[in-house]
Each structure stands twice: as structure tokens, then as C-alpha cells.
């Protein structure tokens, strides 16, 4: 579209907005279109495939278009939509409102854009599945919940949608519920997330108790007025809220569910477990970033923690997760698992960047958010590409059983290549710029984590190049790889559509736009966007370039022309540990199972002895206990109950009357 025409259109829309109808209330439509479509499918299109596809894709695409309108009209303005009085009670003033600003509109575009493309891809990928309509319906439900998280203007609403996202993710991971592994995986994901969510809820309560409001804008105001408003619980509240992010964004030690979540259909992995839902944690940290800018404070009982900042803890947890996942990814052979660990690692990166952002001279988490956006594009691309490969190889997922797919699937290869180059941080591709923003933040805030980040970037390049070399180059190593051929158009074009932003999104001044959102006085470091990194912080940029080149050359040296992984022989035990994900599942099992058994045993003991026959055991021998117990259940137990009742009266009297 001609720039002038676009400008006129925007002005026209603005005029409508000024004339009384509030244009920002379109955000409600963005939010509810997917829900309406999901309900429509449930009621009218449970059997009709065409109708279901039309409904759901139509709804999400419409949401995308409206988001674009909102972005075009408002840009980075901060606007609240007309709220819906949700809890008009004195005390808990929770209105259900939507908030638009630079951060939320960008996130809206990411969610609806990726969701539209993934849905189109799914029409081809899920063609033969009996649960076709259910699949689209659940995806729409997910999009609705995710948009709710993005748009929510208060913590209670955010939490509600947070849980809804958990539920829809549960439904989608367990989509093939006839597979036991899928059932286990969705349960694991759900329960792990609940642990995080409890922390989140307590955090919300603490913030509410301190600030007297759950409205995010209100909290920002309260903290701006008095940075000590959170009192002694400032750091605790920050960490409890981070626990929510820990669950959703799969940070150590709650990271174990994400790799297993790959049991769901591949488009689900692309949308939920790579691009959007797992990023919700990072988004939420950015949205509530103000909580991490306050000075450290602990309750008296935790005084020994001293000046330890919540943000510092967050950055170290992120860094550790990134390192751990990168190490594991190096020795995985399942194409989806490599991508899953890569996602974990990149999420760790983002979380680390947000934590480090709080340590800057002017606190600013935009590096993490920037990486979130670019990552959403190229990681969705990579997952969909992997889906295409898996589809073509008849559901073979082991990369060592593929090979030589370059000639057979040229489109997939080309787009997957673009995604990989973006992820590993090749200059000109999106990932290079967002990673550079993280490097620059780290260099300024914490040099140790900067070193760690560069090392992880190096590993990322290494395992991604390994994946591409083994899958697409060489010669086909199995029958199914030999017979693979290019996928159909419905799957091909979404790949192409995602390849474009993976390459070019960083050519727009997106980084500056996001940074400007958090820091009104932010000045662009000037000059050409493409060479910006070298102007801004040359050292960081050169280290990024260096990590990229080192990783590529190492991968080519080790894997070019191999048909078997040479690393296990060289690394021995270490390789085994990496392959087995450092035994986290086993360790958790070893801890959780005995605790669980012990709790069950205690419960059983209470039920059997305290209720069934207190006082019986001491008098009679163990030998005739069984017989007596039976009789007790029939007639004697009322007497036991009555006695315990009377004993209860005595205890209560002693407590009450002293």
C-alpha cells in the first residue's frame, strides 16, 4: 500500500475514534472473536470440517487484522478500554478492563499472527485426524486465553486467563489422549504449572495487600509515588510472581514439563510451546517490570538475604536454565526434542535478559521482549518446518534416520535454513539483533552472565547446525527419508510467510520501539538499523559474531559427512548425562514419589487407626485385633466416636477457658 494512502486511512479511522465511538474498544472484539468462534464450532460444527476451519481461522485472522488496525492507529500510546465492572465492591476494586500500549499491541500481533499461520498449516497437517474439528476449537480457545493475558489490565483477570491458558494447553498436549504418553505429559505439564501458579497467586495477594489495588496501572502509580510501598515483602512478592513465570516459561527447576509437552501435535508445539504460551511468563515479567525496579527488601525472618534483589535471582535462574537446556540439546536425536530444548534455552535467555534489564542504569527489560518477538517468528517457523519434515518422513522423528532432505524438500529446506540462521544469530537475520540487545544489556549489567550468554550462543549455533547438517545434507539413511517429498501448499506457504519476518523483522526499528516503551527518554543509538549493534556496543556485537562463527565451524568440523554421532565416544559420561537430560526426571521421581507415598501412608494411618479403633490396640493383642476391628466397625465404633466427641469437648474447653 502506498504510504500516503495508508496515512489517510489511519487518519480516517482516528476521526471515527474521535467522533464518540471509542475505537480502542475494538480490543474487546480482538479478545472475544476466537472465543465466539470456538463456541460456534462447539455448537454448530462438531462434525463439519469445512465450517470448523472457516469459523476458527476466520476468527483468528479477524483478530489479527483488528490488532493491526489498533497498532497502526495507536502505536505506542497507553490507552485503557472501557472497563467492564467486574467486582464493584468496596475494597476489591477489580474491574475487568483491557489495556493497550506498545508492549501489548506488539504482543497482540505476535499471538494472532503466529496463530493464524499455525492454523492454516494445521489444515494440511491434521488432515487425516478424526479430532479435526475439536483441534481447531481448542486452538481458538487457547488464542482467546492468551489474548486475555496480553490485554488484561489487572492481576486478577491476568491470573484467570493464566489458568485458562493452562487448561487449554492441557487439552492440546493431551490431544491424542489415547496415547498414554500424551496423557502423562499433559498431567505433568498441568501439575508442574500449578506449583508455579500457587506462588503467583500468593504474590498477587501480597501486592494487592500492599498497594490496595490489583490494577497494573495503579500498581505502577503506587510504586512511582513511593518505591517502598511494598514494604518488607518487596523481594518476596517479586519472586512469588516470578514463580508463575517459572511454571509457564519452564524455568529451572520447573522446566521438566516442556520437553514432554512435545507429545502434542506439532502445530501445537509451534504455537503454544515455542512461540506464545511459554513466552507468556517473559511477557508477564515485562508487564509487571515495575515490581523488579524497587530496592531489595526482605521480612525480618529472611534478613540474612540482605540486599539480594529479586531481579538478580531471576537473571541467574534464567542463565542457568539457558545453559542447562543448551547442553542437553547438543546430545538429543529427536528433531522435536532438540527444538524443545532450544526453546527452553532461549526462554532462559529472555528471562535472564529481563532480570539483567533491572540492573541497568535506567532499568529496561526490552532486550528480553525483543528476543521474545523475533524468537516467536523463527521458532514457530522451525517447529512447523520440523512438522513438515516429520509429515514427509511418515512420522519419523530421529534425525539420524533422515538425511539428504535438501533436494527432496527444497522449500522446507530453504525456510528451515532461514529459521536456523535467525536462531543462531547470523548477521542480517532477526536473531542476531535481538541477541545483540541481550549481550549489550548483560555486558552493562553483569559481565559474568555476559560470558555465559556468549558461551550459550556458541552452543546454540553448534546444535542447530548439527540438526541441519544431519537432517538435510548427506544422503538418506532410511527408506522413509528416501521416499520423502515436498509438502502440500497449505503447509508450504505458512512456512514462507514465517520466513519473511524471521529474516526481516529486525530491519524495522522494533528494538528501539520496545525500549522506548519502557523508557520515555530512550534515544536510538542512531544510524542504520542493520549496523546498529556495531555502533551501539561494538564489543557485544563482535562477541555475537564470534560465537556464531565458532559454533558453525565446530559443527561443520564434527558433523559434515557423518552418518553417526561422534560425540558420545569423545565425551563419554558427559554425553550420557546430556542425553538423559541430566537425570532431572529421575531425581524428581526419587523425591516426589517417596514424599507422596509418605503422605498417603500418614493419611491411611489416620483413617485406619484414629477413626477405626483408637484405644483398642493398646489393650488387646495384635493377634485378635482383626476380629475386634470388624466388630468395632459394626457396633463399637459409635462408642468410640462418642468418646472422641467428649474428648473433643474437653480439648476445646481447655483451649477456650484456659
Amino acid at each position: 500500500m502506498d504510504a500516503h494512502v495508508a496515512h489517510t486511512a489511519v487518519e480516517a479511522v482516528k476521526a471515527v475514534g474521535d467522533s464518540g465511538t471509542k475505537l480502542q474498544d475494538l480490543a474487546w472484539a480482538v479478545l472475544f472473536f476466537p472465543l465466539v468462534c470456538a463456541l460456534g464450532t462447539l455448537l454448530f460444527a462438531r462434525k463439519d470440517r469445512m465450517l470448523a476451519v472457516g469459523f476458527n481461522i476466520g476468527g483468528v485472522v479477524l483478530s489479527f487484522l483488528l490488532s493491526f488496525v489498533l497498532f497502526a492507529v495507536y502505536g505506542g500510546q497507553r490507552i485503557d478500554c472501557t472497563p467492564f465492572q467486574w467486582l464493584p465492591l468496596e475494597g476489591l476494586n477489580a474491574t475487568m478492563g483491557l489495556h493497550l500500549d506498545g508492549l501489548t499491541t506488539v504482543m497482540l500481533l505476535v499471538v494472532t499472527g503466529v496463530a493464524s499461520l499455525v492454523m492454516i498449516f494445521s489444515t494440511g497437517y491434521m488432515k487425516d485426524d478424526p479430532g479435526y474439528c475439536r483441534f481447531f476449537m481448542t486452538l481458538s480457545l487457547f488464542v482467546f486465553s492468551m489474548l486475555g493475558i496480553v490485554l488484561a489490565d489487572n492481576l486478577v483477570m491476568l491470573f484467570v486467563f493464566w489458568e485458562l491458558v493452562g487448561v487449554s494447553s492441557y487439552l492440546l498436549i493431551g490431544f491424542w489422549h489415547e496415547k498414554p504418553s500424551a496423557g502423562d505429559a499433559c498431567k505433568k505439564a498441568f501439575l508442574t504449572n500449578r506449583i508455579g501458579d500457587f506462588g503467583f497467586m500468593l504474590g498477587i495477594l501480597l501486592v494487592w495487600a500492599a498497594c490496595g489495588t490489583v490494577n497494573i496501572g495503579g500498581i505502577e502509580l503506587a510504586i512511582a509515588k513511593d518505591p517502598h510501598v511494598l514494604g518488607a515483602t518487596a523481594s518476596l512478592a517479586g519472586l512469588l510472581i516470578f514463580m508463575g513465570a517459572m511454571g509457564k516459561s519452564a524455568q529451572f527447576p520447573l522446566h521438566i514439563w516442556l520437553p514432554d509437552a512435545m507429545e502434542g501435535p506439532t502445530p501445537v508445539s509451534a504455537l503454544i510451546h515455542a512461540a506464545t504460551m511459554v513466552a507468556a511468563g517473559v511477557y508477564m515479567l515485562c508487564r509487571l517490570f515495575v515490581l523488579y525496579t524497587v530496592p531489595a527488601a526482605w521480612p525480618a525472618s529472611l534478613d540474612f538475604l540482605g540486599g539480594l534483589n529479586a531481579a538478580t535471582v531471576i537473571s541467574w535462574i534464567g542463565g542457568f536454565t539457558a545453559l542447562l537446556a543448551a547442553l542437553i540439546a547438543i546430545q538429543q536425536n529427536d528433531i522435536k526434542r532438540i527444538l524443545a530444548y532450544s526453546t527452553l534455552s532461549q526462554l532462559g535467555y529472555m528471562v535472564m535478559a529481563v532480570g539483567l534489564g533491572a540492573g541497568l542504569a535506567t532499568p529496561n527489560p526490552s532486550a528480553g521482549m525483543y528476543h521474545l518477538v523475533t524468537h516467536a517468528a523463527f521458532k514457530a517457523l522451525l517447529f512447523l518446518g520440523a512438522g513438515a519434515v516429520i509429515h514427509a518422513c511418515h512420522h519419523e522423528q530421529d534425525i539420524w534416520k533422515m538425511g539428504g532432505l535438501r533436494e527432496k524438500m527444497p522449500w522446507t529446506f530453504a525456510t528451515f535454513g532461514v529459521g536456523t540462521l535467525a536462531l543462531v544469530g547470523c548477521p542480517l537475520f532477526a536473531g542476531f539483533y535481538s541477541k545483540d540487545a541481550i549481550f549489550a544489556t548483560a555486558l552493562e549489567s553483569n559481565p559474568v552472565l555476559f560470558g555465559l550468554a556468549v558461551a550459550i550462543a556458541c552452543m546454540t549455533t553448534f546444535y542447530m547446525c548439527r540438526l541441519v547438517i544431519v537432517t538435510f545434507f548427506g544422503s538418506a539413511r532410511t527408506e522413509s527419508a528416501d521416499h520423502a517429498h515436498e509438502v502440500a501448499g497449505s503447509m508450504k506457504w505458512p512456512l514462507v510467510a514465517l520466513a519473511v519476518p524471521s529474516l526481516m523483522i529486525a530491519w524495522l526499528p522494533l528494538g528501539d520501539f520496545l525500549a522506548g516503551h519502557f523508557d520515555a527518554h530512550y534515544h536510538s543509538h542512531g544510524g542504520d538499523v542493520l549496523f546498529g549493534p556495531f555502533n551501539h556496543n561494538a564489543l557485544a556485537a563482535f562477541f555475537g559474531l564470534f560465537a556464531f562463527m565458532l559454533g558453525v565451524s565446530a559443527a561443520f568440523a564434527v558433523y559434515w559427512g557423518r552418518s553417526k554421532d561422534p560425540l558420545p565416544a569423545k565425551l563419554g559420561q558427559l554425553s550420557r548425562a546430556m542425553r538423559n537430560k541430566f537425570y532431572f526426571d529421575e531425581i524428581y521421581e526419587a523425591i516426589v514419589v517417596p514424599v507422596h507415598d509418605a503422605a498417603a501412608a500418614v493419611a491411611d494411618w489416620l483413617d485406619r487407626w484414629v477413626i477405626g479403633g483408637l484405644g483398642v490396640r493398646g489393650v488387646t493383642g495384635v493377634a485378635d485385633f482383626a476380629g475386634r476391628a470388624l466388630r468395632l466397625v459394626q457396633t463399637g465404633s459409635i462408642q468410640t466416636y462418642t468418646f472422641l466427641f467428649a474428648a473433643g469437648v474437653v480439648v476445646v474447653a481447655l483451649l477456650a477457658l484456659k
Binding site: 489393650v619 468418646f643 469437648v649 474437653v650 474447653a653
Partner: protein, 169 residues
């Protein structure tokens, strides 16, 4: 030197407790009829206590209704059932011991509470033995609970018929 009425009170109270105990746990006889007769004695001793409180009407009702009508019903049921010796309830030492402990503990709490309380003034006794004030209380002040009790009796009747009638159609 305690007054004569005080002595009477302690005597009757002791009798009530003693007979009550023999009603639930009689070491000499396990015949239910004996237990029922001890219940009659308990009720009569309680009627004596009412007399001491000048509540003559209540004392009379206690004897007429409980010792008279209700107990006769009880005895009929016991005799109609005619339980054989081995089916009758055995008193277990353990149960008895636990029961005694519970009762003693609760009694201890009462004694402690009452011993710390200031005695009531005599003028606080506003319900004198006449039938007329009692009727006024029942049918004026406590009219609503009194009427609800009639509903309660209806429920009890329906319940008994339902649970005991041989075959309800």
C-alpha cells in the same frame, strides 16, 4: 451448718446420679427391665429436685408423663422384643473406663467453672412454681419454639412409621 433444703438437694442429686448410672451400667443384673425400672427411679429423683426449686407443675408432669406414660411404653417394647440372654448388650471394661474418663474430665471443667463464678442473687429466680407463669412463658415468650416443637413431633411420628412399618406401599 447447711440448711435442711440443701441436705435434701445433695441427697436427691446423689440419688439421681446413682440411679442414672445403674440405668446404663448395672453390675448386678443385665435384665433390660431392671434398667428401665432404674430409669423410673432416676426420673422420680429428678422430680424431687424440681420440687426443691418450687417447680411443682414440672415435678408433677415429670412423674406423670415420663415415669408414667413413657416408661410404660418402654417396658412394653422391651417385653415384646424379649431379648434372649446372649443377645443382650455386654458392658466392656474398656468402654466403661473411657466413658468414666470423659465424664470425669467434663465434670472437672464444670466444677472449675462454677467454683470461680459468683453465686446468683436470689432475686434472679423469676420462674416460680405456679402453673400460670409457666403457661405465660410457654405461650407468649416462647410461643414460636413451642409451635415448632409440634412440627418436630409430627416429623418424629412420620419417621417412626416409615422406618418401622412392615411393608409400605
Amino acid at each position: 451448718m447447711p440448711e435442711f433444703t440443701d441436705l435434701l438437694f445433695y441427697g436427691l442429686a446423689a440419688l439421681t446420679l446413682g440411679f442414672g448410672f445403674l440405668t446404663v451400667a448395672n453390675p448386678f443384673s443385665r435384665n433390660p427391665v431392671t434398667n428401665a425400672m432404674f430409669l423410673v427411679l432416676t426420673i422420680i429423683s429428678m422430680a424431687g429436685l424440681f420440687v426443691l426449686l418450687h417447680a411443682f407443675f414440672l415435678a408433677a408432669i415429670q412423674v406423670l408423663v415420663y415415669a408414667g406414660a413413657v416408661m410404660v411404653l418402654f417396658l412394653f417394647v422391651i417385653m415384646l422384643l424379649d431379648l434372649p440372654e446372649e443377645n443382650r448388650r455386654q458392658i466392656k471394661t474398656l468402654t466403661l473406663g473411657l466413658g468414666t474418663i470423659a465424664v470425669a474430665a467434663i465434670a472437672g471443667i464444670f466444677i472449675k467453672a462454677i467454683s470461680h463464678a459468683a453465686p446468683l442473687a436470689a432475686s434472679d429466680r423469676w420462674l416460680d412454681g405456679e402453673t400460670k407463669p409457666l403457661g405465660k412463658i410457654l405461650f407468649e415468650t416462647y410461643l414460636l419454639p413451642f409451635e415448632i416443637l409440634s412440627l418436630l413431633l409430627l416429623v418424629a411420628m412420620v419417621g417412626v412409621i416409615l422406618l418401622s412399618k412392615k411393608d409400605l406401599k
